[in-house]
Assembly symmetry: C2
Homo-oligomer: 414 residues x 2
């Protein structure tokens, strides 16, 4: 049982996911039944709400509201992209002390884990008793220690469905199609594009992830090879692919911006804005058009298109993985139980059991999750670097759930 | 009963939809039970397949295959964007005569109806007995006579869901967000962006359709007004919006391409390529950034993003309107019944009955549907031209079906 009793704060931070409110409702449910949390304050827009003492009373919400909010994508408390500086931290304690807050739950990615870590250390430094728990969420699936992250399964389901549909579209009206997928540092979400394949000739035929250097010449010959074989080609590209020809190892988005003299926005975590623009996809489509179409061997009439899947990947309602929703809920509950019953600080992790798909919920120290991210393991990327392996498919399938049916007329071949 | 007996051809043409194979399976089912169609030949890639005599035997498909294909988005027979010229028409008859084809069913939009119309006239001119039926489909919903088009309801469901999710995302991380929606000449699909609104402050807050001239200055003051009131703004823009400042009344995509010296592709129906690029959204985002952010009254830190919903709108699996799927199936069946039992040529139409939602299936002459399209009625567009009316919402809701649940925490207000 907890040595302390008092109020709790919960907040949501960073890019939303389709199941981030499952975790919020999990925190609310476990806090209500904890017996040691008097009030649960929902911080509006994460640390910004704590700094402004802008709170919502979460124990007064009706069961109907909670049930509906749990099914609603995107942070119901509002989100924020803000890393508290030392001055902010002092003010966060002021706010917490003033409100007799003894438990702090923060739902977010690695940047949010860092925020919790900083607040936790500052609490220890000032001998203020505060249990801090990070509840993982990220569509990028790039948090360390945990097998996978709540939010990934649903985003991966959206991406897999989008590519399944686009592959069918491209079969009907053949050409070269490039789709840009979210994922700043890790290729997990881009890799999910392969999960909807059913027949040997189904796309995506090429999958480029940030873990392998991207070379334009190699890309063009890959596309030409697939097009020569199938008369069409679907390409999945991570927004975070790294320019293999750049000595500074910057992303293609960055070196492209330099070449086309565009400026890119940055947030306070120094992350460059990659989403919310079709520029990378359009640039790659032009590279193909100019390299293979107009002057190249595939001829002037080559049909080349690009789509950027955009914010829909993280907030589309109605395309939610059931496993993901259940796990996100449980991560919220587990964070409260560990803080209250075991008097711990940390970050909730899911560890996969051997055999049929099942996870065990556990925790790890905040420092293990804060700031640093993880990439796709080598075993998930094909040797030539432009596709995923069966090992990835086995890893990701249970997280996404069964995809919609997809049939072909007999005699239609390719 | 038909005066003729023989084989039949069915083909699919133009941009795919999520339910175009429901219509195909409807044609197959009705043809099988017609008693006068000996073989049903599926033309691969529309008229291209007829010209090449590249056919698939559709009576030999298993029930399982047909059930699965019906649920699969995008033309299972392959599609084409090709308008037959007089020489093509001659060769189409050669192919039809040779294969004893007496019934021709073509599933597509207004361009496809024109193809059927040309083939039908040519058949009459050469005294070749051929029953021709156009089966409507288009996500644009711009065919004349019919109340709405198969394919629209599912695409509208996707767009409504996308905006519902994006509105939640934008509430969590406020800023200005522009989403570009398909629809070359008509605003129906862009208007569907409004169907997911639940609270007064829900987006899209501004909806720009091709039916009203688009003026940059007006757009900027509209955005500034919403942003001033709500601290955020979601904008739905049709890819086909018309530049109100252009004396030639070209689209913004065209005049933008001129300003940024880009070239746009055209298909053989002289339609300019609008989809498959993020250029229009990115250009509008820059207009806002430069007009209101950097120099303007909303300040340098203004968060402006654009997404282009892209091909997902017409081929995403798993986001299908049930009503749309059922109606698409019936349109295929009705085309065959009318050709066989009533010896007619024409295009299938759906006429809405008064009272609770219900349609009556009928037909109209091909000439009434070919080439010309229809726009949104004035009653569906708000007087100031940047929103939809309740009349539109009542028209579109039954076509889209119930959308996913969406809840808000009490106390979260805006």
């Amino acid at each position: 049982m907890a040595r302390i009793r008092g109020n709790a704060i919960v907040g949501q931070s960073g890019g939303p996911t389709a199941v981030i409110n499952q975790s919020l409702v999990g925190v609310i449910e476990a806090a209500q039944s904890s017996g040691v949390i008097d009030r649960l304050l929902g911080a509006r827009h994460g640390v910004k709400g704590i700094l402004r003492e802008d709170f919502v009373d979460l124990f007064s919400q009706s069961r109907e509201t909670l049930d509906e909010v749990a099914l609603t994508p995107s942070s119901a408390l509002g989100s924020v992209r803000q890393k508290p500086n030392p001055d902010d931290c002092y003010r966060i304690f002021e706010s917490m002390r003033k409100n007799d807050v003894r438990f702090y739950f923060y739902i977010g990615g690695n940047d949010s884990a860092e925020t919790v870590h900083i607040v936790n250390k500052a609490a220890q430094d000032s001998n203020y008793e505060l249990r801090c728990f990070h509840v993982p969420k990220t569509v990028d699936n790039d948090l360390r220690v945990t097998d996978h992250c709540p939010g990934y399964g649903s985003a991966a389901r959206f991406v897999a469905s989008a590519f399944m549909g686009d592959n069918l579209d491209n079969r009907a009206l053949p050409g070269i199609k490039i789709n840009v997928v979210m994922g700043r540092n890790a290729g997990f979400l881009t890799a999910a594009s392969a999960l909807g394949r059913k027949w040997d000739d189904d796309g995506p035929h090429l999958v480029y992830m940030p873990e392998r250097p991207f070379l334009v010449e190699r890309f063009l010959s890959d596309v030409e090879g697939v097009y020569g074989r199938l008369g069409r080609c679907i390409v999945a590209v991570s927004e975070g692919i790294v320019d293999g020809s750049d000595p500074l190892k910057r992303t293609v988005a960055e070196t492209m911006a330099e070449k086309t003299s565009k400026t890119l926005e940055k947030d306070t975590h120094a992350n460059i804005q990659l989403s919310g623009s079709g520029a990378l996809g359009d640039w790659l489509a032009n590279v193909v058009r100019e390299g293979l179409g107009i002057e190249g061997r595939l001829g002037r009439g080559l049909r080349v298109r690009a789509d950027t899947l955009g914010y829909m990947q993280r907030s589309f309602p109605g395309v939610i993985s059931e496993v993901d929703a259940l796990e996100a809920r449980e991560c919220g509950r587990v964070a409260v139980r560990l803080a209250v019953s075991e008097d711990r600080d940390g970050s909730v992790v899911m560890l996969r059991e051997p055999g049929d798909y099942r996870v065990r919920f556990d925790y790890t120290a905040l420092v293990n999750v804060a700031r640093e991210t993880r990439s796709m393991p080598d075993a998930f990327i094909s040797p030539e670097g432009s596709n995923v392996t069966d090992a990835f498919m086995e890893y990701a399938r249970p997280l996404v759930g069964l995809l919609p049916p997809y049939g072909r007329l007999s005699g239609m071949g390719r």
